[in-house]
């Protein structure tokens, strides 16, 4: 039951994130602010997971919801790119993977520092 409640939370945030992605696509002027907001929330989630003890679960849910919402919001466009412009999608995937790798490195670094300072 508790897992179902967490899933509900995830779906709610993913819906909001997906809605933001739709807004960013329908009104291109808002694309950049929404991207910034999304990045800021994502980084904050990582910070919470890495350093704070409380609300870790919520931060994980929020981070994954952002990711799911982003992919879901752009899914039809991703399909087009996959079919007609594999170069672009390859670039996108590369950039995303590099970004995630650097974030993970930062995350592990911060977490290790936090545990060693506690000792």
């Amino acid at each position: 039951m508790r897992h179902l409640k967490n899933a509900n939370e995830l779906v709610l945030y993913a819906a909001i994130s997906c809605g933001a992605a739709f807004i960013g696509r329908l009104f291109p002027a808002l694309y950049f602010p929404i991207l910034l907001l999304r990045l800021a929330i994502f980084l904050y989630c990582l910070y919470v997971i890495a350093t704070l003890e409380r609300n870790r679960e919520l931060a994980m849910i929020l981070g994954s919801a952002l990711f799911i919402g982003m992919i879901g919001g752009y899914w039809d466009l991703i399909e087009i790119w996959l079919r007609y412009d594999l170069g672009a999608i390859a670039q996108l995937i590369t950039i995303t993977l590099l970004f995630i790798a650097s974030l993970l490195g930062l995350f592990i670094y911060v977490k290790n520092n936090a545990t060693t300072s506690q000792k």
């Binding site: 899933a7 509900n8 779906v11 997906c18 899914w75 466009l77």
Partner: protein, 248 residues
């Protein structure tokens, strides 16, 4: 238990609906778009194809796009914007409402499972008690049966206690005799030996029973000697005296 879990089906249904709506909102195109391919020749005389995706909400052509040279290679004209947005809103609303009733439902479900666990433990304990009780009853019944059988056996073959007491008394008598009459022991021993030659030691008890029965019936000493011991002589008299000394 039923009133506690009243909201549970609603909660589960709303959750499933919200997930379904979200996944549904991901599918189908959001906006009309056209895909263009444009032949380009790079600095090193290499030809390549530049692709442009132009959506209906773009204000301008993308950078590098030449409307004269570009050829349209694909188009999506069936957009499902309102449906997708509706599905998304529905998904959000369902998830939100499920979250609102979720706290109570989750707590209730946890209470339910807790109550069930306690009930299960209670049942188990009750069963254990029952088994213990039955075992105790069975043990008691077995004991009673054994006692009955023992009683019947005792009635049939006589109590071993008498024999034990008899043996003890004999020992005591023997000790006494050996203590007190160590002086005239040789005569007593010869007397006893003479008696034992006729009356062995193992018939003492039965004989004494018969003698005491005869005494109770009012028989005289001579009658006892004749009828019970069947030896009206010195040895018979001595044996009667010996029995009297032993059992009285």
């Amino acid at each position: 238990m039923q009133p506690l879990a009243k909201n549970k089906p609603l909660f589960i249904g709303l959750s499933c609906l919200s997930v379904g709506c979200l996944v549904g909102a991901f599918g189908y195109p959001l906006q009309r778009l056209e895909v263009y391919a444009q032949e380009e020749i790079g600095t090193f005389n290499q030809a390549y194809e530049q692709k442009f995706v132009i959506t209906e909400s773009d204000n301008n052509y993308p950078y590098g796009f030449d409307a004269d040279r570009a050829t349209k290679i694909a188009q999506v004209y069936n957009a499902y914007t309102p449906q997708k947005v509706m599905l998304l809103i529905l998904s959000g609303v369902c998830a939100g409402y499920a979250l609102l009733i979720g706290d109570k439902t989750v707590v209730n479900a946890e209470i339910d499972s807790e109550v069930q666990a306690i009930q299960a433990t209670g049942k188990k304990q009750l069963l254990l008690e029952k088994v213990k009780h039955q075992l105790a009853l069975a043990s008691k019944a077995q004991r009673i049966t054994f006692m009955d059988e023992m009683k019947a056996l005792l009635e049939e073959f006589g109590s071993p206690e008498d024999e034990i007491i008899e043996a003890d008394e004999l020992n005591a008598l023997y000790d006494e005799v050996s203590d007190t009459s160590s002086a005239d022991g040789s005569q007593a021993d010869s007397n006893l030996e003479a008696i034992r030659a006729v009356f062995p030691e193992n018939i003492d008890r039965a004989t004494w029973n018969a003698v005491s029965k005869a005494i109770a019936n009012g028989a005289s000493r001579e009658e006892i000697l004749v009828e019970v011991l069947q030896s009206n002589n010195d040895i018979g008299r001595a044996y009667l005296d010996f029995l009297k000394a032993k059992y009285l």
